[in-house]
Assembly symmetry: C2
């Protein structure tokens, strides 16, 4: 078992984490890029009508199919053809060591001293010209509820006369199954959904476009190798089963959610759409930013053994700073940039991504390559650092002033929501996640299912 010192020695010896490393792709060396050579995230993009795997570097993408066809991946042996597939699934299946080999080879091809610079340059595609797609077909999408601050504040708003937290919260990472068919890549327009909700104090619901459209700022991870049905994954093995991490916007309709959720949880209030950032940041790239999980507090019950390990206590947390930016249609018309409406930290979650995976499989449920596990809303202890408008505006009752004087409650048609995430640590190069964005468009004018 690695001690904390050994862990850091490993990270420090790894040339791909060296803050001194530079790329010959100049945009990868700017201070504000999310994709310096220390990151090298995986994604799938479309070019010439075909989907390809790429690695993000600065504002460019290294086309791995092209690199494979040019024979540049031959040192990867049997892994090389997997890099020429149209989805990340075959590579994800091979596990963490495989992803590490590909990332290291990309590092060699792209670092400033590479002898192959001139050859490789022809395989770069500008991010501006590429259409990013889902990295993998998602078999099952699971959404957790791992922020104690989100749970507490949500409880205060929704159930003011009851205890803030349900008694189970600190015993297990609560979750529900989400809808896989409506997970879409960043940039997909978000159509305001219709649904049933209450308008008065009586129990008469009506069907209308939601009046409480919200975002949920989340961090997702993709399952690499899966487990067999019936065989739980031990917490210490979970890092071998996570391919990488992305940002997730679990768009929510709060009025529909409130009406439909008893007793089986949210359904149509979430299933209309979930956006993901298209770049998958590998666990290897995140190694320098693994930190101890957040303090559980004095009143927390002892952790069940399947959710605890000495290694996890050292580095179960991921220190990711998250931001939500918003641009209204008026801001867009006036040429204004998007405004930051909240900023929060993933390291403060009560449960970690590794605990989610261990819990999910603890009943024998099999996870499959490409499954997406998301954190639920990432909210901090202060209300102004919450991860959704339900909390930030106290269910729409206390608007947030925007820089141009507009008042933000829930989302309006024309609002554009942009998530960003970034990892920073003294002595290391900061890396980021790119964006997870979506523009809200008006509801269908027709009643659902009505014929023209």
């Amino acid at each position: 078992l690695a001690t904390r010192d050994q862990q850091w020695a490993d990270v420090q010896e790894d040339e791909t984490h060296s803050s001194a490393a530079l790329s010959w792709v100049s945009s990868a060396n700017t201070a504000d890029t999310d994709f310096p050579i220390q990151n090298l995230p995986f994604g799938v993009f479309q070019k010439d009508g075909t989907a390809r795997i790429g690695i993000g570097i600065g504002d460019q993408i290294l086309d791995l199919r092209w690199a494979y066809q040019k024979g540049m991946l031959s040192s990867l042996g049997g892994l090389a053809p997997l890099c020429a597939e149209a989805t990340l699934k075959p590579l994800m299946e091979k596990g963490r060591a495989a992803a590490r080999q590909v990332r290291r080879l990309a590092f060699q091809l792209l670092h400033a001293g590479s002898a192959q610079q001139e050859r490789v340059r022809a395989g770069l595609v500008s991010m501006q010209e590429a259409e990013m797609m889902l990295p993998v077909e998602i078999g099952d999408f699971t959404d957790f509820y791992t922020s104690v601050h989100h749970a507490r504040r949500g409880g205060k708003i929704a159930r003011p006369s009851s205890p803030e937290l349900f008694p189970n919260f600190k015993n297990l990472p609560i979750a529900y199954h989400g809808r896989a068919s409506t997970v879409v890549p960043s940039g997909t327009l978000c159509r305001r959904p219709w649904g049933q909700f209450l308008t008065g104090s009586n129990d008469l619901s009506h069907m209308a476009p939601t009046q409480k459209l919200d975002f949920e700022l989340e961090v997702g991870c993709y399952v690499g190798p899966g487990n067999h049905h019936g065989q739980p994954i031990a917490l210490v093995d979970t890092p071998q089963h996570i391919f990488g991490v992305c940002l997730v916007n679990d768009w929510s309709a709060r009025d529909i959610q409130r009406w439909e959720s008893q007793p089986l949880g949210p359904f149509l209030s979430k299933s209309f759409m979930t956006s993901v950032s298209p770049w998958v940041v590998t666990l290897d790239a995140l190694q320098p930013f693994q930190v101890p999980p957040a303090d559980r507090g004095d009143d927390a019950p002892r952790l069940s053994p399947y959710l605890d390990s000495p290694e996890h206590r050292l580095k179960g947390g991921l220190d990711i700073t998250l931001q939500v930016l918003l641009r209204t249609s008026r801001m867009r018309e006036d040429g204004r940039d998007a405004a930051v409406v909240t900023e929060t930290r993933y390291a403060n979650q009560f449960w970690t991504s590794f605990q989610m995976l261990a819990h999910h499989s603890s009943n024998g449920c099999n996870l499959r390559t490409g499954d997406l596990l998301s954190s639920g809303t990432v909210s901090d202890s202060e209300q102004s650092r919450a991860g959704c408008l339900f909390e930030l505006t106290w269910d729409g009752t206390t608007p947030i002033p925007l820089p141009n004087g507009e008042q933000l409650t829930y989302l309006s048609d024309g609002d554009e929501v942009v998530f960003r995430g970034r990892c920073s640590r003294d002595g290391y190069r900061s890396i980021g996640f790119g964006t997870c964005s979506g523009l809200v468009i008006p509801a269908l004018s027709q009643y659902p299912g009505a014929r023209a």
Copy 2:
């Protein structure tokens, strides 16, 4: 729009519904077969190591790949090669008219007057020798909560001091997303899952094999052609989007469910396994058994227009009689048959399969070919006709006596649970669903994730 009389005229004119029709496969002509020539359900089975589509007839399967290779499906044109695939997906995608064409051709090949009897006989495989598989890869599995009797009785047991029904129940078909990766074909062993639950009256949970393992008797339907993301399906169009119907056992761990379900609904208490009967009975075969939906009662709110249509009022219900049989290990040792522990009717559900589909897509959520929508527990108004042990035994407090004197509360290791379903109507041949069965095996002896 078809009136009720026109509808019955159509059904009566259809030779595949004629009670006089017989098959040259003699086992299809017995009174108790589930698979007379009036049924002809679709399934996928394994033979010689390859998966094939088959049609059930008596105790035999017509191998459609074989029939395709022998040129017997040429009248199907472009549909013929789809019958030689390893999954039903390509055929399901083509919609109800395609399934109808294949079923009609099978009727011609298999009916007693068929000139091709001798040729076709070589394409029969005994059901006893075939291993049945999932008919299609299930993208998303959704489980509803559509029995008012189940909801009421469950409310009484779980929340004795609150109103039995939540106020939303009669306004919309409540549902939650289930786990697709653990949907398995009938016959798969059900391993008792570990999980967290409370044992005392305090809030100290512990991790142990569930002590309240239950079945849930449900009726599922498979989506045929899907809808585009953002485009709801009108209730009147839903019959074109349902390929067919099967039985579903949504195995449940009631102690885990009780502890984990607030506020987001059941998760690990359900995701360890869900069994489906492998034969998919088409909507065409079910036509004679379409009945008006159950009476909503005087106190029910007016139906939202997207959940109502004149046609649906005529034939939204499906009249399926459902049975649960159970055989303990002692009964097996003593050579006893399984005993019927409950019998109930799908026609008494408060919401129908068609309303489920319309509601599911009403927010624009896209359903995809092969998605499974299940009804939730089918329970009748009498406690003895409930669809799960939670109700039948009042959460394990009032055991059911079995014929050999054993007392049934929750499921024990070695118990075998068998679901059956059957449609009957005067003037029509009864058709059935085959079985959805599973044998309970002991929990893993090791703590979840512990290493040997």
